[in-house]
C-alpha cells in the first residue's frame, strides 16, 4: 500500500486556485520528485500535506489513516516532517538547539519533569549524540553553538534538512533542498537522501528545480502546472515528455 | 551657639506627580511657609530647635505612599509627617506608620475608611465629609429641589460624598437622586454631561445638580455643559475643589456658574484673622496665590511642629500629645478639635458663590456643621 495518497486535493486563495484536484501516490520507501514551473502550486501542495495550510477540498491518507484536517503538529507526530523553501530556522537559537527541538517524546519537554534533570538528562545526552551525528552529515558540527542567524544561506538550508531528520519521520517533504547549495554538496545531499532511504526506510517527496541531480535519484516524478498534475512517470519518461519540455524546460 | 542646634525633620509625603501633582506642590509650599516662619520665631527666641523638611513623592498610589513614608523615615529619621493627601494614600502609609511609631498628620483626607480609633493617623483641620454632605443636602432642600442629579468622581471621596448626600437629602424629605460617577482619570466629560442633562430632563422642574468633581474634570464638564439646554437652566452646587481660580479663567465658564446660581460649601472659606496674613505671607514668599487647600497644609504643619516642640522628636510622645495641641490650636482655618478617631470634629464652613463680575468666589454665608445651621450674611 502506498504511504501517502492524495485524493482530489484542492486549495483556493481567494480567486486563485493554487492546487486543483490533485490526486497522487507516494509508495513506501520511494523517492518521488515533484517538479513544475514557478508558481505551479508545489509548495502549496506540500503545505497541505503537512497540515500548515487548510485544504479547500479533498482527502489525504497517510499510512492507512486519513490525516486531512489534522493540525501541523499532529501531522508531524504521525511521521511527516518537512523542510521549507525559504529556510525557517530558529535564528536566535544555536544550531544544536535547532536540531534538538523536533525530537519526539522528550521527557524533559514536560513542564512537570523539566525542573528535575535526572528525569531527562540521559535521554537528552542521547539526543545530543544523534544531533551531532546529523550535524556532522550536513557539515555543520563545527557550528553547533553558532546562532542560526550567523550561518550562510546554504548552511541554513543544510541545517533545516538536518533538523527535519531529527524528528525521525517516515515521510520527508523537502522543498528545494539544494537551492543555494554548492554543487558538490548538493550532490552529497541527494546521496544522503538516498542513504537515509536505504538505512531508515524514509520516504521522500522532493520539490526540486535542479533536475540534473534530482533525476539521478528519483523513482518517479510528478509534474505540476497551473495547479494541476500534468504528468507522472519515471525520470526518463518525464525528460522526454513533449508537454513537460514545453511548459517546464521552455523548449 | 550654632553647635547645639537640634533639627527636627518634618516629612512631607505628597503626590507631586499624578493628576493631583499640582495639589501636592501647593501643599508643600504651605508647609514650607509654616516651617520658615516657625524657624524664624525659634531663632528670634533663642531656641536651639529648628525644623527641616523632607519631601517624597507618593506617586498618588497607596503603595507609593508607603514607599515615600519609608524613605523619609529611614533617610532622615523623621517621626512626624504632614501628608499624604488622599484617603487611599493615607491608608497605604498606615501600616508602616503604625508599626514604626510615625505620626501621620493628614490635612485633606476626609474619606470614612481612615476613621480608625487608636492608630497613628490624625486628620486635623479638614472634617470628614459627613458634615459637608449634610450642608449640601440642607442647601438643596432649602432651594426647593425635589430631585437631584449628582455627578461625582468615582473614588472614596466622591462615592462617600454621594452616598452621604443622598442619605441626608432623602432624610430631609428630598425625592429621588440620580448619581453618575466619572472615572478619576477622565480628561473629557461629554458623555457624562449628556447623561446628567438627560437625567435632569427626566426629573422635570425643581431638580438640582450637584457636582463632586476635581478641577480638571470640572473644567471639562463646564466646557460641555455651557451649551447644554438643560444644564444651563438648573441650579448647581459643587464641592470645594471646583472653586479654583482656573475655573473662572474662561468668562464663559464663570458666566455659566453665575447663571446656575452655583454655590459651594467650603472649609477654607471660613476665615480667621490669620487667614489674610497667611495669604500675604504666601504671596511674599512664593510670588503666587495659594491654592484652595494650601492653608490646611500650613495649619497641619503648625500643629505638627507645635506638638514636636512640646513632645520632642519622638513619635510616641507626639502621638500622645497631638490631640491636646490641636485642640488648643487656631490657625488660618478654624479651631481644630479631634474626635476619637483622630479626625477633625469641628465643621464650620463658608458658603460661597461666584462674584457678579465672575472673577472670584465670594462668601455669602456660613454653615455650622455641629449645629446644622445655615446663616446667610
Amino acid at each position: 500500500m502506498p504511504l501517502l495518497q492524495l485524493f482530489n486535493l484542492r486549495k483556493d486563495f481567494g480567486g486563485l486556485r493554487a492546487v486543483d484536484d490533485v490526486s497522487l501516490e507516494v509508495a513506501t520507501g520511494a523517492i518521488v520528485g515533484l517538479i513544475g514551473p514557478n508558481g505551479s502550486g508545489k509548495s502549496t501542495l506540500l503545505n497541505l500535506i503537512a497540515g500548515s495550510a487548510e485544504r479547500t477540498a479533498g482527502r489525504i491518507i497517510f499510512d492507512g489513516d486519513e490525516i486531512s484536517g489534522l493540525s501541523a503538529d499532529q501531522v508531524f507526530q504521525r511521521g511527516i516532517a518537512r523542510g521549507y523553501q525559504d529556510p525557517s530556522l530558529y535564528l536566535k537559537m544555536t544550531t544544536l538547539d535547532n536540531a534538538l527541538l523536533p525530537v519526539k517524546s522528550q521527557r524533559g519537554e514536560h513542564p512537570w519533569y523539566a525542573p528535575w534533570r535526572r528525569f531527562w538528562q540521559k535521554q537528552e545526552a542521547e539526543n545530543a549524540r544523534a544531533a551531532a551525528g546529523v550535524l556532522e552529515q550536513v557539515q555543520l558540527l563545527g557550528h553547533y553553538d553558532s546562532l542560526a542567524s550567523d550561518l550562510s544561506g546554504g548552511q541554513m538550508k543544510l541545517l533545516e534538512m538536518g533538523r527535519s531528520l531529527m524528528g525521525s519521520p517516515k515521510l520527508l517533504l523537502l522543498d528545494e533542498p539544494t537551492a543555494g547549495v554548492a554543487p558538490n554538496l548538493a550532490y552529497e545531499i541527494f546521496e544522503e537522501i538516498s542513504r537515509l532511504r536505504q538505512q531508515h526506510g524514509i520516504t521522500f517527496l522532493i520539490v526540486e528545480h535542479r533536475l540534473e541531480i534530482l533525476f539521478d535519484f528519483v523513482d518517479s516524478v510528478y509534474v505540476m502546472h497551473l495547479g494541476n498534475l500534468l504528468a507522472h512517470g519515471s525520470a526518463d519518461d518525464i525528460a522526454s515528455n513533449e508537454t513537460v519540455r514545453e511548459v517546464y524546460f521552455g523548449d | 551657639a550654632q553647635d547645639d542646634i537640634e533639627t527636627y525633620v518634618l516629612g512631607i509625603p505628597l503626590p507631586f506627580t499624578g493628576s493631583f501633582g499640582s495639589f501636592g506642590q501647593d501643599f508643600e509650599r504651605g508647609i514650607l511657609l509654616a516651617v520658615s516662619q516657625m524657624n524664624a520665631e525659634l531663632e528670634a527666641a533663642g531656641s536651639n530647635i529648628r525644623f527641616d523638611t523632607a519631601s517624597a513623592d507618593t506617586e498618588q498610589t497607596p503603595e507609593g505612599a508607603a514607599r515615600a513614608l519609608q524613605t523619609i523615615a529611614q533617610t532622615t529619621g523623621a517621626q512626624v509627617v504632614v501628608g499624604p493627601l488622599t484617603t487611599d494614600e493615607v491608608l497605604g502609609a498606615k501600616q508602616f506608620a503604625d508599626e514604626n511609631g510615625i505620626v501621620i498628620v493628614a490635612m485633606a483626607s476626609s474619606g470614612p475608611a481612615a476613621s480608625i480609633p487608636g492608630d497613628n493617623i490624625y486628620r486635623v483641620i479638614y472634617p470628614p465629609d459627613t458634615f459637608s454632605s449634610k450642608a449640601f443636602a440642607t442647601i438643596a432642600l432649602e432651594r426647593g429641589h425635589e430631585n437631584m442629579v449628582v455627578l461625582h468622581v468615582d473614588d472614596p471621596f466622591g462615592n462617600g460624598m454621594n452616598e452621604q448626600f443622598i442619605a441626608n437629602f432623602q432624610a430631609g424629605g428630598g425625592g429621588e437622586v440620580a448619581s453618575f460617577g466619572y472615572a478619576p482619570q477622565s480628561t473629557e466629560l461629554s458623555t457624562e454631561a449628556a447623561a446628567v442633562s438627560a437625567a435632569l430632563a427626566g426629573f422635570g422642574d425643581n431638580a438640582g445638580f450637584f457636582c463632586v468633581c476635581f478641577p480638571g474634570a470640572a473644567q471639562a464638564f463646564v466646557q460641555v455643559a455651557q451649551v447644554d439646554p438643560i444644564l444651563t437652566t438648573v441650579q448647581w452646587m459643587g464641592n470645594e475643589a471646583m472653586t479654583t481660580l482656573e475655573m473662572l479663567e474662561d468668562p464663559g465658564h464663570a458666566q455659566t456658574l453665575i447663571n446656575a446660581n452655583f454655590v459651594t460649601v467650603s472649609q477654607s472659606a471660613a476665615s480667621t484673622p490669620l487667614t489674610p496674613i497667611f495669604n500675604a505671607d504666601f504671596v511674599a514668599m512664593f510670588d503666587k496665590e495659594p491654592g484652595i487647600f494650601t492653608n490646611y497644609a500650613f495649619d497641619a504643619a503648625n500643629i505638627a511642629m507645635l506638638t514636636m516642640l512640646a513632645a520632642g522628636n519622638d513619635g510616641a510622645a507626639v502621638k500622645s500629645m497631638l490631640p491636646f495641641i490641636s485642640n488648643h490650636y487656631i490657625g488660618t482655618t478654624v479651631q481644630a478639635y479631634l474626635d476619637d478617631n483622630g479626625d477633625q470634629a469641628i465643621a464650620s464652613y463658608g458658603i460661597r458663590k461666584v462674584s457678579d463680575d465672575g472673577t472670584a468666589f465670594e462668601v455669602i454665608g456660613s454653615y455650622n456643621g455641629n449645629t446644622d445651621t445655615i446663616t446667610y450674611n
Binding site: D86, D150, G180, A182, P183, N184, A186 | -
Partner: protein, 234 residues
C-alpha cells in the same frame, strides 16, 4: 571597475573575509563561486556598505566606497539583489516595481515598466498581488526586476537562479548575458556553477574568506583544485 584591496570584513567582531584582494573589470560578467559559508555574500555586502569592514579598501574606479552610506553607493549606479529578503513583501508587486524605477527620470519610468513586463510576463499578471504571496520563483524574478529597473551600470546578484524552474533559469541566464552585452558590469554569486561558467567571462572562487582561484570561466571549469573542493565530479 571595482577594486577590492586587502579587504578584511565580517560581522561585529567576526572576520569572514581575510585580506582579500581582487578586481572586477568594467563591462565584464564575473562569477563569484565558492562553498557555502565561504564569504561570497559577505563580499557583496561589503561592497554595499552593509557590514563591518576591519581594514582594506574598495574602490569604484577611483572612488573609495568604504565609509559611504548604502544609499549613496546605490546612487553611483550599483544595484544589488540580496540572497534573501530582497523584495518588499508587504507592498504590491506593482509598488515594488515603482520603487525600482524611482530614480529614473519621470518620462522613462513607464517605458521601463513596459519593457519589464515583456521580459517577465508573469509579473505583469501579478501586479496587484501582495509581493509576499508570490511563489518562490516569482519572488526571485521580482527581486531581479527591481534592481534592473534602476538601469544600473553595475549589478551585484546573489544567487539569481536559486529556486527557478529551468525555463525561467534559462531566461535569467539569457537576461544576464544580454545585460552584459549591453555593457552592464555583472558580478554574480551562483551555486549553479557549471551553468554560470558557461555564460560568464571571468570567475573567482572563494574559500574560507580567501581567494582560491581567479581566472577565465573556462580555466575555472578545468581547475583541479576547484573541481575537487567545490564543483564536484558529477
Amino acid at each position: 571597475m571595482i577594486t577590492v584591496d586587502h579587504l578584511t570584513a565580517g560581522y561585529g567582531k567576526l572576520e569572514i573575509l581575510q585580506d582579500l584582494s581582487l578586481a572586477f573589470a568594467a563591462e565584464q560578467f564575473s562569477a563569484v563561486l565558492g562553498p557555502n559559508g565561504s564569504g561570497k555574500s559577505t563580499l557583496m555586502k561589503a561592497i554595499m556598505g552593509l557590514n563591518t569592514i576591519f581594514s582594506g579598501s574598495i574602490t569604484l574606479r577611483t572612488r573609495e566606497l568604504i565609509g559611504m552610506q548604502t544609499e549613496a553607493i546605490s546612487k553611483l549606479g550599483i544595484a544589488y539583489v540580496p540572497q534573501r529578503e530582497n523584495i518588499f513583501t508587504e507592498l504590491s508587486v506593482l509598488e515594488n516595481l515603482q520603487l525600482g524605477v524611482r530614480i529614473l527620470p519621470r518620462d522613462q519610468r513607464e517605458n521601463a515598466l513596459n519593457e519589464l513586463f515583456e521580459l517577465f510576463p508573469i509579473l505583469g499578471r501579478r501586479k496587484p498581488q501582495k509581493a509576499g504571496q508570490l511563489s518562490g520563483g516569482e519572488h526571485r524574478m521580482l527581486a531581479i526586476a527591481i534592481a534592473w529597473l534602476s538601469r544600473p551600470t553595475i549589478m551585484l546578484l546573489d544567487e539569481p537562479s536559486a529556486g527557478l524552474a529551468p525555463a525561467i533559469a534559462t531566461d535569467v541566464f539569457n537576461i544576464l548575458k544580454e545585460l552584459s552585452q549591453q555593457g552592464i558590469t555583472l558580478i554574480v554569486v551562483e551555486q549553479n556553477a557549471r551553468r554560470i561558467l558557461q555564460h560568464c567571462d571571468y570567475a573567482f572562487v572563494l574559500r574560507e574568506g580567501r581567494l582560491m582561484f581567479d581566472g577565465s570561466a573556462q580555466a575555472c571549469l578545468e581547475d583541479e583544485e576547484t573541481i575537487k573542493g567545490y564543483l564536484g565530479v558529477h
